[in-house]
Amino acid sequence: MTELVNILAVGLLLGGIYALVSVGLNLIFGVIRIVNFAQGEFVMLGMYGAFAAQITLRLDPYVATVLVGPALFALGAFVYWVILRPLQGQPMMQVFATFGLLMILENTVLALTGGTAYSVNSGLTGYSVSFGPIQIGLPRVLVLTAATVVTLALGWYLKSTMHGKAIRAVAQDRNAARLMGVDVERIYMVSFGIGAALAGLAGCLLSPLYTMSPQIGMNFIMPAFAVVVLGGLGSVKGAYFGGLIVGLTEALAGFYLDPALKQAVLFLMFIIVLVVRPSGLFGTAGAEEVGLREQS
């Protein structure tokens, strides 16, 4: 029994990581209808940002979030305005552009660091929290907590503020939104910026847990795609619960089947959901089609 509880706890904590990475990815997809292949690289930049803040300003990575988050927001907004906006109306070109961005960011960091593996220390690393028979490191609990808080805060923002409603309106019908006085280009830019900032936040919170490398973004982006499809394209709540489901699936499959099969099981589930329920487990049926129709 303790073994199962342990596996479930590991799965949930892993799911918290995926959820945190996926919420921003899903926001970008839901609003701008771009599959951002560079989202994992924004996580990687967040990690290196935490590292840079530690060696230059001696900041704990959790404190560095207040610098790295806004920096990634600015980078995301810049990327949208300079690279993706000129390609508007050409969704495939935009996707290719994000893939190009992935390679540029990865190779630039590789050139700057020479491929040296760095790690970040936090004052909280040695602490743990007890849940009955199991003990969990505090940094992992913080990731799950942050994913929960971010999901709730973003959900509130989209539901309760005028700007959030404008973001949802653009996702549903951008021309009708224009007629309401919404500056659609600005909404796209801000949404991409928020998505990048959330990835940067994830990078900071993950930096005490992983040894970083320029290619580390790939570890997060593949499961994040599964999360987004599973949870529901464009659904913030879906990204959260999808993340938890993917984390639990990986943990259970890795333990009860074979660790080598955990990704295979995950992507089998990904394909089944794509075929059987394309709107995802938490997406609104038809919502993805409304947005895609708008792009055409």
Partner: protein
């Protein structure tokens, strides 16, 4: 100030290499209802899209209250007192009726009086008060059209553009929607451009009429005169 609220002069417009409108010129006098009628594919929606700023005219000018707005972005035109009800309403289907109405007042100039305006608009369309928490995508055709008109009124426009408000509605419901628009135009002092395929009904409510054919205005005049015109009756009213 000129009595013309909106002036379209020599306007051409289209999509990519396809030219749809050719040399369109007419004015909308302040507080009047102008009907632009024509068969499907005549260019009516393109005309309103160009006036609303959703597409940029390839030639000519659009002037609102004496100011050239030909290249003004669509989202800025709301703040200039222009609102459009697109064909089919184009409500945000996964948002509630109330949220749709709130977005109608998104322009900064409209936000300060949002609560009062919401109350006024719900008084104009009492059914929306009952449906305010319902998803807009679940409204009936008539309710959807009412909601779309109400949403456009949230910004307190002076010029209202209506694109085929009868699409998908029964004749009875069409009559109701058009009567509501006529009443609102009189009560709020609105100038209106309405484009329609239902020529008989729309010429009955309008002050001025234009007939659009293959992207060109082929007849213009007082709506009452056009209704009596034999050629218009035979070609467009099926009489």
């Amino acid at each position: 100030m000129s009595d013309d609220h909106l002036v379209i002069a020599g306007m051409g417009a289209g999509y990519g290499d396809v030219s749809v409108l050719h040399d369109i010129s007419f004015a909308v006098p302040r507080g009047k209802i102008v009907a632009v009628v024509g068969v499907n594919g005549a260019g009516k929606t393109t005309l309103l899209s160009a006036v609303a700023g959703l597409i940029v005219p390839t030639r000519g000018t659009v002037t609102l209250d004496g100011a050239d707005i030909t290249r003004t972005a669509a989202h800025r035109r709301t703040g200039l007192g222009l609102a459009m009800v697109p064909e089919g309403g184009r409500l945000f289907p996964f948002m509630s009726v109330r949220e749709n109405l709130e977005l109608g007042a998104y322009a900064p100039a409209s936000r300060s009086g949002l609560v009062e305006r919401m109350s006024e608009v719900m008084d104009m369309f009492p059914i929306l008060r009952d449906r305010q928490d319902q998803l807009a995508g679940r409204l009936s055709g008539g309710e959807r059209q009412m909601c779309a008109v109400a949403r456009a009124l949230m910004s307190r426009p002076q010029l209202l553009l209506l694109d085929e408000p009868s699409v998908g509605l029964s004749p009875l419901m069409t009559e109701k929607v058009l009567a509501t628009v006529t009443d609102l135009a009189a009560r709020e002092g609105l100038s209106v451009i309405i484009v329609e395929q239902r020529v008989t009904e729309v010429l009955a409510m309008a002050d001025i009429g234009h007939i659009l054919d293959h992207g060109r205005i082929v007849r213009s005049g007082l709506a009452a005169d056009l209704r009596k015109d034999r050629q218009v009756q035979e070609t467009y009213m099926g009489l």
